[in-house]
Amino acid sequence: MSGAALTVRNLRVTFDGFTAVDGVDLDIAPGDLRFLIGPNGAGKTTLVDAVTGLVRATGSVRFGDEELLGRPVHRIARLGIGRTFQTATVFEQLTVEQNLDIAAGAGRGAWTMLRRRRAVPERVERALETTGLADLRDRPAGVLAHGQKQWLEIGMLLVQDVRLLLLDEPVAGMSHEEREATGELLRRVGEDHTVVVIEHDMDFMRAFARSVTVLHAGKVLSEGSVAEVRADAEVQEVYLGRASVVAGEG
């Protein structure tokens, strides 16, 4: 377990005058399984975008000793930060195995790249087992079920050897069984990774979160254990009547 913490200080993201993330401070300790919740437009996804270099932001985001802001996306990824998207983005034309193989290979040399894949790297094999996709390894990812795509994405993060996983609504649109399976997967992954999950589904959060941060209008509203957050009066007000919000929107 590598022990880099994610430290966000005074993070601010603006689009044409609209401030999507407004001075957020956030500390995520190594090994945490943190849920980011908040109503639509709270800035959850933008926060993740900023951390992963997709949008420009001011303030500071440190991962261990490394400042992330200002680095290009692929450099941040190489530091060991991986993410998924609200709508699963896997390479639909490639097989499950190829998807994982690509994820495992960012550091490969030119010679390896120019040769055909012959053996399956051990990490890929392990990820296939972890995500339960071993039987589907030769299927094009495009034909996978929605849930399977999400698992494949998580599997890709695992073989990528990331230390911090940022998952954007991993269970949105999933059936109950798939949710359970995803939750178990998260738990397994969380044993030796730091995980941040953006989620709307309160039941899911209650079942699997170790800690929770509530965002509202670009600011941190509340932070703590599941129980603490649920007891927070402000949070209740924001979520009034929305105790278990329908998932699937951003």
């Binding site: 190489r78 034309q93 490639l94 690509i102 960012a106 490969r108 053996a119 030769d138 050897d161």
Partner: protein, 388 residues
């Protein structure tokens, strides 16, 4: 991060082997192609037809690169004429200098007529050296492509912009070449090339030699392109086409991935241009502008952009149809060309190659579809997701 998978069954699982007939398909097809190109065609065709085929095979070499960059990488390379032209001019400059030397002249013939100076321009001088000129036929296009690609891909200029910029570049280069008549031959281009590294091109035997060189080059480049297609890089390239952003989050720089495909395709176009010169005896700005540049893409599109063999056959077939049908029915051919393009690109993006592949996949429906061996059913849907 590890760079290679640890070998051996202890730590890695060997991937399930494909059945023997499938494994042999590519080498068998290659052998068949070689027999046709190197054996059957030279025996069956008269000199003039073989010479035409040599010209078409040059277009096919461009199509190999187009198939890589566009079919696999989703980069619509609408400026291949530029690279074809750079390669062609590099070769023609050397051959003109060699011709002049044979004739005992100080300057190539057109410079004597149109030029204003008695001395060879400095940028012509190194081309007197055959090794330099040969290297330049490939390196010059690759350098230009590398520079442009670096600028464009790094700034994440969108696919549409890239296509338009490529076209503008093609137009600009041809205008520039036309404007430099004294040193480039202007609209005439470099013509009347007589020798090819000491061999007289007027001799039909030597023309056959040129054909063999071109055919072998095509076969070798197809083999090399196929190796790229099935390599890890080939998979990564498809991944970049499918979702550039996702690849970036995996720690790759997609700009570099695209750049490699673009530069390799440019090198192939350059080589094709270089080989075109001895086969046809001319290189001119008319082969470089917007229309010929689109022409290079047409063949690949019609045959099947993502299928190597499809693209090559498409390029040859379209070139053949162009020269055969445009004679008899100039107007009808233009309609047909336009219509073919509309129908194939619009409604059969995998090209004609996907017709066969569709049937094949239907036959063995449950079998796994491996994108590494390009069954084009995947491609038909692939092209719906271009990197924009």
């Amino acid at each position: 991060m590890t760079t290679t998978a640890p070998p051996g069954p202890a730590s890695a699982t060997t991937r399930p082997r494909a059945s023997t007939p499938r494994r042999l398909r590519a080498p068998a097809a290659f052998l068949l192609g070689a027999v046709l190109l190197l054996g059957a065609a030279p025996l069956a065709l008269p000199d003039s037809r073989l010479n035409l085929l040599a010209k078409y095979l040059c277009y096919a070499i461009v199509a190999v690169g187009v198939s890589l960059a566009w079919g696999r990488g989703g980069l619509l390379v609408l400026g291949q004429g530029v690279f074809f032209g750079l390669g062609g001019y590099a070769m023609a400059m050397h051959l003109k200098l060699a011709d002049a030397a044979t004739a005992g002249e100080r300057l190539p013939d057109f410079m004597l007529l149109y030029g204003s100076s008695d001395t060879l321009p400095w940028w012509w001088q190194p081309f007197a050296d055959p090794a330099f000129a040969l290297a330049m036929t490939v390196l010059l296009p690759m350098t230009v492509a590398g520079l442009l690609g670096f600028l464009v891909f790094r700034r994440r200029v969108k696919g549409a912009y890239f296509a338009i910029l490529s076209q503008a570049l093609a137009a600009a280069l041809s205008i520039w070449l036309v404007g430099q008549q004294a040193t480039t031959g202007g609209t005439n281009g470099l013509t009347g090339i007589q020798g090819f590294f000491g061999y007289d091109l007027a001799d039909p035997v030597n023309q056959r030699m040129v054909y063999f060189v071109i055919a072998v080059a095509l076969l070798l480049l197809m083999a090399a392109a196929r190796q790229l297609f099935v390599s890890r890089y080939g998979e990564l390239l498809v991944a970049v086409r499918d979702s550039e952003e996702r690849v970036r989050f995996l720690g790759y720089d997609p700009a570099n991935v695209k750049l490699v495909a673009y530069v390799v395709a440019a090198g192939m176009a350059g080589l094709a241009g270089a080989l075109f010169v001895p086969a046809v005896g001319i290189i001119s700005p008319a082969l470089i502008g917007i229309v010929p540049s689109i022409g290079f893409v047409i063949g690949a599109a019609v045959g099947g952009r993502a299928s190597l063999v499809g693209a090559v056959l498409g390029a040859v077939a379209v070139a053949w149809a162009q020269s055969t049908l445009s004679d008899a029915f100039p107007a009808a051919w233009t309609y047909l060309q336009g219509l073919l393009f509309v129908l194939v690109v619009g409604f059969l993006p995998g090209g004609l190659a996907s017709l066969g592949a569709l049937r094949r996949t239907r036959r063995r429906a449950p079998a796994s579809v491996r994108a590494a061996a390009p069954t084009t059913s995947a491609v038909a849907t692939a092209s719906t997701k271009e990197t924009a």
